[in-house]
Symmetry: C2
Subunit: 128 residues, 2 copies
DNA sequence: GTTGCTGTTCTACGCGACGTAGAAAACAGC
DNA sequence: GCTGTTTTCTACGTCGCGTAGAACAGCAAC
């Protein structure tokens, strides 16, 4: 119950971006951002989607527990439940979790990580 | 292009099991194992599937590059391309790869790993 | 309070993935 | 050549996702 479609991911990208700026996104905001992004480079939502399309996606994301919607305000506010980093890390744990031999997997995983990342990991695991 | 369905996963489990035993699996073998597993505990393939069902799944797994089929022998031999551990590790990299801030994700990830696993990681990263 | 705009819900269609399998073709042994 | 086994081809139902229309609800101006 984890994988996202292309559009779902694009919308999440917008929400994640807003999250860092502590922005309370309304539907209109998202639409504006998405059409801006059309000319720009990042979230390639573009394509001038129908309003309802985005809403449907938002609902589905809400059902998946990735998006929270404040129903109090009249134009509802949408926001990502967790940061992109947290979400990705959680996904990694999900993938890892299904393995019977977690340590062996970790060994392989570490094997193909860039040196600078390995360095980061050493620091994080540090003191011991 | 990575996620597996339930049955696909079950079949991969059988192939992965056979892989450790360096077994060359034929369709019949797999079917036998799967029905045995029905009574047992592990790979809950069970349900007495039609032969063609398993073959279809094998074909799809082959198309996905997870299974290799030796067409030389008359009853074809099927085997997992990579070990379960390698596959899982690769999946983790896939998940991680799509993140703009990989190191932040790794930080979160490391944050929720068991102590014994952390220890393993320290060893693996060792020789700073 | 009726008109009109904006935001929200409901419902639905098309497509592709997956579980499932029958029909038919290719083979191997007798 | 006939028979049993294996493989291919084709297909159907379901579900997730991209997509959106139709209808409804709230609000603001008149």
């Amino acid at each position: 119950m984890a994988s996202l479609g292309e559009l779902e991911r694009a919308v999440m990208d917008l929400l994640w971006a807003g999250r860092e700026a502590a922005t309370a996104n309304t539907l209109r905001d998202l639409l504006a951002q998405s059409t801006v992004a059309q000319g720009g480079a990042a979230g390639h939502v573009g394509k001038d989607l129908a309003v309802t399309t985005v809403l449907t996606v938002l609902s589905r994301l809400e059902k998946k527990g990735l998006v929270e919607r404040e129903r109090g305000m009249r134009p509802h506010r949408y926001q990502a439940v967790s940061s992109r980093e947290d979400h990705t890390a959680e996904l990694m744990h999900e993938v890892l979790g299904s393995a019977p031999d977690r340590e062996a997997v970790l060994a392989r995983f570490i094997g193909s990580v860039t040196e600078s990342e390995a360095e980061t990991l050493r620091k994080l695991l540090g003191h011991s």
